[in-house]
Symmetry: none
Subunit: 211 residues, 2 copies
């Protein structure tokens, strides 16, 4: 704690950036960090630049680098403090880049119902759909049936193409969908994001200690 811990400052700044979507000026940074002297704030900023979290945009203002957004991915227990995650060369990952390859052809679609539960696609999840009207058998596709979107597996038999659910338990609730005329495919499933509905944080349990 004696040592100037840049990551404490970085953390506050990252949280601020998420809130405000801007890197503030030295003066405002001083307030954010509870530093009384703008000169000292400047010093800390300099350190963050050396570490590669910030850089100067044309005009001298600060802007976040790619590294600023990167998030640690843990594989095994890091010896000691969690902050060391940065030192230990962990895998770094940016969610948007990881999930979306073609931003202009990608949309998010909210999942309703549990017809795809066997593939781990739950109600309330957001599926990531890449546009394209061609798909392979067995692929999960977002199709348009009766003027409504539906997420199903593309299948085919003697009678032609149809859509299958993936819910073993309640299979009879989701019979195959056979298009009356044509099957309109909007895009195909390339990923998923889920926000867990965390119960309002009542810290019931505090088993053992911590780190």
């Amino acid at each position: 704690m004696q040592q100037l811990d840049i990551f404490t400052y970085l953390g506050k700044l990252q949280d601020y950036y998420v809130r405000e979507k801007i890197i503030p000026s030295t003066t405002q940074l001083s307030a954010l960090w509870n530093v009384k002297a703008r000169s000292w704030t400047h010093q800390i900023v300099q350190r963050l630049k050396e570490e590669g979290f910030l850089e100067n945009a044309p005009g001298g203002r600060l802007r976040p680098t790619l590294r600023f957004f990167e998030r640690t991915v843990g594989h095994r227990v890091w010896a000691g403090l969690p902050q060391q995650a940065f030192d230990v060369q962990p895998e770094l990952l940016r969610i948007d880049d990881y999930l979306i390859e073609k931003p202009s052809q990608t949309i998010l679609f909210p999942v309703k119902g549990d017809s795809m539960i066997d593939l781990g696609i739950l109600e309330g999840d957001m599926v990531i759909i890449e546009r394209g009207n061609t798909a392979s058998i067995g692929q999960v596709v977002l199709a348009i049936v009766d003027n409504e979107f539906t997420l199903k597996v593309l299948a085919r038999d003697q009678e032609g193409y149809y859509l299958e659910a993936r819910n073993e338990k309640r299979g009879r609730d989701y019979p195959p969908i056979r298009p009356e005329q044509k099957l309109e495919i909007y895009g195909f499933y390339v990923g998923l994001i889920r926000k867990a509905h965390v119960a309002p944080h009542r810290p019931h349990a505090r088993p053992g200690s911590s780190l």
Copy 2:
């Protein structure tokens, strides 16, 4: 073309923002827009604020609004489609913002095994973990057992706290984990991202037409 076309200015600014990831100052905007008077630049900015493309961040600096990013996936694509699509405003949702509230306390962790499959957490998924050593019974937690991370449900009985898997089918493969001394909780599950392993794109099927 006679009329002051804000969108010409907006376009240039959008391109600049993609390049530099920052909204420049009035002076630099003047250069970008080939406007000689900073006052006039200020006027245009005012117009863009009224239209909802820009706003003032705390401190007076400019920042882009959500509408600023609107253009990427043309909304015209949606015209004529089922109404569900409009609920989400796909291109306006930024994944990072949606999933992560406290970036500095959040990590991603790759899921191994199928012990949590009943909660739709599959092998290869990345769970989003928010740090904190307190948790409620029934919450999904990332705990440290035998110097390895494990993702399980926190439970409790007469004997004390323990960890449960969630895999009905192969329940006997995942017996409850009871800590020898103390149960160390690293953080709790707040979300998930998944990248579907799309088979190399062989466009087997082209059922019906498209849009």
